[in-house]
């Protein structure tokens, strides 16, 4: 479904202008002592939330900013 996303700089825009960057998992983990399993968890595993999720977006056809929004994955609506 068509999605609109509110960019902090450019305002509410067509979702296809943006690039999805995954759920917000926090900063990159420290390398020391990182087991393969913990690494895979950070890199590949997702919660796949069915509901509201905090996630990263990049305004590709716009200002070039990475930012987070809240979106309901069940309705595909941005949550203000």
């Amino acid at each position: 479904m068509s999605l609109t996303i509110t960019c902090p700089i450019c305002g509410k825009r067509n979702g296809y202008e943006f690039r999805y960057g995954g759920q917000d998992k926090g900063p990159r983990p420290e390398e020391d002592g990182l087991t393969p399993e913990k690494w895979a968890e950070y890199v590949h595993l997702n919660e796949n939330t069915g509901g509201i999720q905090k996630e990263w977006w990049f305004h590709r056809s716009g200002c070039g900013l990475w930012f987070t929004i809240l979106r309901d994955t069940q309705t595909n609506q941005e949550i203000k």
């Binding site: 479904m1 990159r28 420290e30 390398e31 990263w56 990049f58 590709r60 070039g64 990475w66």
Partner: protein
């Protein structure tokens, strides 16, 4: 056929004749006709044959809800003739018949309906299995409506992308009232209407709007207001295709005589949407309810009122709503003989209408309904039955006007994800949960009173205005009060099926699905509408929901005979009206970028290929081995346009930190005057990009990426630093700079012609970086690189200068035998050096170690470099595919390279050839391959299996790349 020519409601010009060819016969229609009405006027009654049983089908509705009226019009199969405006000279042909619709040789299939129960093709034809292909061929031939026209060109397909405040879907009284109400709040409105004119169900009705104004006059009054309102853009003959999230709609407009387009794709984004799509009729289900001559109320009425055609001579009505009674009265007035009007309802009628019917000496029968139609090809008689099925009466007639009730066109609401629920009073599926900023209005709610409809429309318009920040709460409140005093929604009939045999009672015309089929499917466990629809195919034909949509859940509900299970509607999916792909596609969309040196290469007879968004020169002659191009680089000097390389400036206090995060090497060693070759990996340690980096000033870096990564590098670097809050700036200079690479032993001599700078190997060694002015006026960044394995200078200059530089170099190089070379020559040259191209020598499971490039990785855990963890964890991992070099050996022809993509095998597949070519300079066939590490040892014999080789194997031996100039002297010359 004689037309009624003096009705004020006519939309035809009876005096303006248009010609058409139907089934090779020349016929005449008039301006304003639809194709279907023109045919009807010429006495055509059988329009098509049904898809399964080849039953004759005629005009049933005039709004394109079923495939009954499908014909091939001007080469377009499956055209809804009832909604297609007649144009002079049209060619119309029937489809899916052997013979003509009147005499179809496949008519006998109708007698085998018993052999085609619900889902019959799942239960038969597969035993014995050997016969299945034969049956399948037969099924394929039988299925489908029209034939595609292989050489159809079509006309002009326009596109319109609009932004507005409010979109109003539907140009009837509710929609027009909504549009005016919202427009008067100062908002911009887009209004779309399917029919070629505004007016909706008022448009042809002579019933009074007020005492002295008939409804059709009111429709024209509203239309005039719409047409002159500066805030409203209105589109007639425009069909809604989809209503999507965030109030986006798509629609297509059919071009009329005066339009420059044939069809036009319209996409509108708005703040709020009013859905005023009104109602269509719910078909009455009885025996042979689709026999030609049986038609809906609106069809019969509009044939007369809009097109001046009486539907026949003698008509029996079987209806369930007042609009049916109104039509009967009016058509009677206009000269149609009406022996009887059966009304499903026992009570609830407008007493005035009943009174008028009685006065007109039309037999009016309460609690009666059509039972069965007789007539081989066309209706000749009808049997009416009392709704409980105990009494019968028959009438001769050539037309049966039948309609069980109304059904709201709620498709747009369903597409907008509204939740619908069965409403006992109206018998409609009404929205009980609406998405935000979507406002249904008018007859959709079951309203039939003209003033209530307009009032509901105005309210919707004001609510939509409120969504756009232009609320008028007081007026909205007043309207709410007013609506309360007006008549509410009409009580709808719930009757699903008239008493009679279920075998020839059709629920879905497009797919020939009868009540019996629905029941059979229910028996088999498909007892919810969505499953039943899939099993019986009811509602999956071109008309989608139009004919069976409302009845299917009612019939299933009847099957269950359990009033605690409410009927559930099935889903409606876009496009609401079948839409030409030509219309969706619009104009051709061949969008690509040309490099700033494109024209110069074109002049040099380059053969271009699309590479991502670019067009790039792949060859400069039809010799695809590129012998001359390659030899020129080895022996003299070649020139190649590498402008598509990604080019970036990264600067600021934290620039180095950002580089350390994404580059696998130690970027703190990058210094002025030198380029450093390095690579980027993804988190899996897979090589995704390589290029060179140099320092141009303090904390100011310039770097290149591969062509494919130019578009994503900014987001990549910013993504991987998004939590860090570092202070750096990143500028994509890819389009700002062109780049030309000069390669070959005479490259220095050529470049010296353009500059006085010292280009000697001592002053400007391999991996050196210099900024200089070329040809006296071109500021250039020049670097010594070695991708193709010969002495090479790469020049990055502003795009506007690139073409000029190309010209200067070509002129300067002439005495040295300069030639342009393309991507294929570059491909061979770099392969000889063992240099990889990402995606060609690597897969997503290939790490930097697998490519033998692990040496580029520098451990710097504090940088949290992307890919470093995976590189650490896979460094000593076994059982991986490794990149190796190989050469062809006896008994194979050592000069014949295997084709790229051939596989390396023994008992099983062990790897594949990435790139392999005959090397002119080495006079042997060499290549790069990914093989399991067990087979990657130098000297290992490889067997190569090429497609189509009939299990003959080629033989190769693993050797260590590079193949050419192993010490690298030539790039350091």
């Amino acid at each position: 056929m004689n037309r009624l020519t003096h009705l004020p409601t006519l939309r035809i010009q009876p005096s303006k004749a248009l010609s058409l060819t139907y089934n090779k016969k020349r016929l005449t229609g008039v301006e304003g006709d639809s194709v279907a009405t023109a045919l009807y006027a010429n006495g055509i009654r059988i329009f098509s044959r049904s898809v399964k049983y080849h039953r004759p089908r005629g005009l049933y509705s005039l709004d394109g809800e079923s495939s009954n009226c499908f014909m091939a019009v001007d080469g377009v199969p499956n055209t809804r003739t009832c909604t297609t405006l007649l144009k002079d000279g049209m060619t119309v042909n029937p489809q899916n018949v052997i013979g003509t619709p009147e005499h179809d040789w496949l008519f006998f299939l109708d007698y085998f309906g018993w052999a085609m129960p619900a889902g019959f093709y799942h239960r038969h034809f597969h035993r014995p299995y050997v016969l299945w292909p034969t049956f399948r061929k037969w099924i394929r031939k039988a299925a489908g409506f029209g034939n595609v026209s292989k050489n159809w060109e079509g006309g002009i397909y326009d596109e319109l992308h609009l932004n507005t405040d409010v979109t109003v879907i539907g140009g009837g009284p509710a929609g027009m009232s909504a549009a005016l109400a919202a427009a008067n709040q100062g908002l911009r409105i887009v209004l779309i209407e399917g029919r070629p004119w505004l007016g909706g169900f008022f448009e042809y009705s002579p019933e009074p709007y007020t005492l002295d104004i008939p409804r059709y006059e009111r429709a024209r009054e509203l239309a005039r207001e719409i047409e002159k309102h500066p805030n409203i853009r209105w589109f007639c003959h425009t069909y809604l295709m989809g209503l999507y999230g965030n109030h986006q709609i798509t629609a297509f407009q059919k071009g009329g005589e005066k339009d420059y387009f044939d069809e036009r794709y319209i996409e509108v984004r708005s703040q709020s949407v009013v859905v005023a799509t009104g109602c269509i009729e719910r078909p009455l289900i009885f025996e042979h309810n689709e026999r030609p001559g049986v038609m809906q109320v609106g069809c019969a009425h509009r044939l007369a009122r809009t097109y001046g055609l009486l539907p026949g001579t003698k008509a029996v009505f079987s209806v369930g709503h007042d609009q049916g009674l109104e039509a009967a009265l009016d058509l009677h007035q206009l000269g149609l003989k009406i022996p009887a009007v059966a009304d499903i309802r026992f009570d609830g009628q407008n007493p005035d209408l009943v009174d008028r019917l009685n006065k007109s000496e039309i037999r009016y029968m309460r609690g009666w309904v059509a039972g069965k139609v007789y007539g081989h090809h066309q209706t000749s008689k009808i049997t009416l039955r009392s709704t409980e099925g105990t009494r019968e009466e028959s009438y001769d007639c050539d037309v049966v006007v039948a309609s069980a009730g109304h059904t709201p066109v709620s498709g747009p609401l369903i597409m907008a994800q509204a939740k619908l629920r069965f409403d006992l009073h109206t018998g409609f599926f009404l929205p009980h949960r609406l998405p935000g900023n979507v406002h249904p209005a008018g007859r959709l709610w079951g309203l039939t009173d003209p003033h209530a409809i307009e009032c509901s429309g105005m309210m919707a318009g004001l609510k939509a205005a409120a969504d756009c920040g232009a609320a008028d709460d007081n007026r909205l409140k007043d309207l709410k009060e007013k609506l309360k005093e007006l008549p509410g929604p009409e009580r709808g009939t719930k009757l699903a099926i008239s008493p009679g045999k279920p075998g020839k009672q059709f629920v879905c015309f497009d797919e020939d699905v009868t009540v019996k089929n629905i029941y059979q499917a229910c028996d088999m466990g498909f007892d919810v509408p969505e499953l039943n629809k899939r099993f019986t195919a009811a509602g999956t034909g071109p008309g989608q929901w139009g004919i069976p949509g409302h009845n299917l859940p009612l019939v299933i509900s009847k099957y269950h005979a359990d009033s605690t299970i409410p009927p559930m509607p099935t889903t409606i999916r876009p496009p609401m009206a079948p839409t030409l792909m030509a219309t969706y596609a619009g104009k051709r969309h061949n969008i690509f970028k040309r490099t700033p040196a494109h024209e110069w290469q074109e002049k040099a007879h380059a053969i271009f290929r699309r590479v991502g968004v670019w067009k790039r020169a792949r060859y400069f002659s039809k010799d695809y081995s590129c012998k001359t191009e390659i030899e020129t680089v080895h022996q003299a000097v070649g020139i190649i346009d590498v402008s598509t390389l990604g080019k970036f400036r990264l600067f600021g206090p934290d620039a180095l930190k950002a580089l350390q995060r994404v580059y696998i090497g130690d970027m703190s060693t990058v210094k002025k005057g030198r380029v450093k070759y390095s690579a980027m990996c993804n988190d899996d340690g897979c090589l995704i990009d390589d290029g060179v980096v140099t320092l141009t000033a303090e904390n100011d870096y310039y770097f290149t990426t591969s062509t494919g990564r130019a578009g994503t590098t900014v987001e990549w670097i910013r993504y991987h630093t998004r939590y860090d809050g570092w202070n750096f700036h990143l500028v994509n200079l890819t389009d700002a700079y062109g780049a030309i690479n000069l390669a070959g032993p005479k490259a220095r001599k050529v470049l010296s012609e353009l500059t006085d700078d010292d280009l000697s190997n001592e002053a400007f060694p391999f991996t050196g970086y210099r900024e200089m002015t070329l040809a006296g006026k071109i500021p250039a960044r020049v670097m010594r690189l070695g991708f193709v394995g010969e002495l090479s200078f790469e020049m990055h200059v502003s795009s506007s200068m690139t073409g000029y530089l190309w010209k200067c170099l070509m002129e300067a190089g002439k005495p040295f035998g300069i030639r342009p070379f393309g991507l294929e020559a570059q491909n061979v040259l770099r392969m000889q050096k063992g240099h990889v191209i990402i995606g060609q020598e690597s897969e997503i499971r290939t790490t930097l170690h697998d490519l033998g490039m692990g040496g580029l990785w520098y451990k710097k855990p504090e940088s949290k470099t992307v890919g470093a963890v995976a590189l650490k964890q896979t460094k000593h991992q076994k059982d991986r595919l490794k990149l190796v070099g190989f050469k062809m050996v006896e008994p194979s022809d050592p000069k014949r390279a295997p084709k790229d993509g051939s596989i390396i095998v023994n008992d099983t597949i062990r790897g594949h050839v990435c790139t392999a070519r005959y090397s002119f300079i080495l006079n042997e066939a060499i290549g790069l391959a990914l093989v399991e590490d067990k087979y990657a040892g130098i000297g290992t014999q490889l067997e190569i299996f090429e497609d189509g080789s009939d299990h003959q194997r080629l033989h190769a031996q693993v050797v260590k790349p590079p193949f050419y100039d192993i010490e690298g002297h030539r790039i350091r010359m």
